[in-house]
Amino acid sequence: MPNIKLNDPYVNFLLPATDGINYSLDLPSLGKIKVVIFSCNHCPYAQAWEDRIISIQKKYSNDGVSVIMISSNNSTEYPEDSFEKMKERHTEKNFNFPYLYDETQEIAKMYGAERTPEVFVFDEFGLLRYTGAIDDNYEDESAVTSSYLMNALDSIIQDNKADVEITDAVGCTIKWK
């Protein structure tokens, strides 16, 4: 269960990204609605959802939505999740969102993130409006019956409140040091 509860303000950070920029959630270039996703390179669940995250960023970019993806995994035990490998993954997948490295794992702990991927959506006032999974079928996008994240974004864009506010994040555990 996340440490950040619904309607809590976001926990800010300053983390390096694979595009060479240090990102904080206050950065003016980010949209008013922030989608913070804890993910990583190596996890098959994270990989299964990557293309959908790219599509979601593309679909909602004109609505002021910014995806910020963070990897907090222990890259000593999981060298596939090193910052260098994250940079390679960014290039390979042509991510249209920043991919941040939480080397100390402090941000994941402050958010209370446990899985990859795990989503936190903050509205234009910086308040948490949705947390959980991206949708209900990691394996087959065509078999998705509930697009949790997109539904939440549609609702938040309309009236700053998600109809479904919490779902269970499904994926690998974050690999702690």
């Binding site: 098959p44 990691y138 690998c172």
Partner: protein, 104 residues
């Protein structure tokens, strides 16, 4: 003759139950008899001993299904499979399972 199926798994990766469900579907749909057993690995030492590359790792008559060439033996890892479309998946392909079990 009955097939021996062994699934090695950890307690952190959510792939075990959907994998068992998929295997049972294949067995039932193809009238294949099998003894299915599971083993929970609980320590890095066990992961090393079993050369465990992630959960779930499936053995069909002691031969690993869709083996991965890796010597990274990690207890908490979720292993990857390749789907019929060539994409990475946390679950084994039903078609590939069917082929492997039919040929076992």
């Amino acid at each position: 003759m009955s097939i021996n199926l062994l699934i090695l798994y950890n307690d952190s990766c959510p792939s075990l139950n959907p994998t068992i469900k998929r295997i049972n579907e294949v067995l039932e749909e193809n009238n294949i008899e099998a003894n299915l057993s599971t083993k929970l690995l609980k320590s890095d030492e066990e992961a090393n001993n079993w050369k465990f590359i992630g959960s779930p790792t499936i053995y069909i008559n002691k031969i690993q299904f869709e083996p991965i060439d890796s010597d990274l033996y990690r207890l908490e890892n979720c292993r990857t499979f390749v789907s019929d479309e060539g994409k990475i998946s946390p679950l084994p392909s039903k078609n590939k399972l069917q082929k492997a079990l039919s040929e076992a």
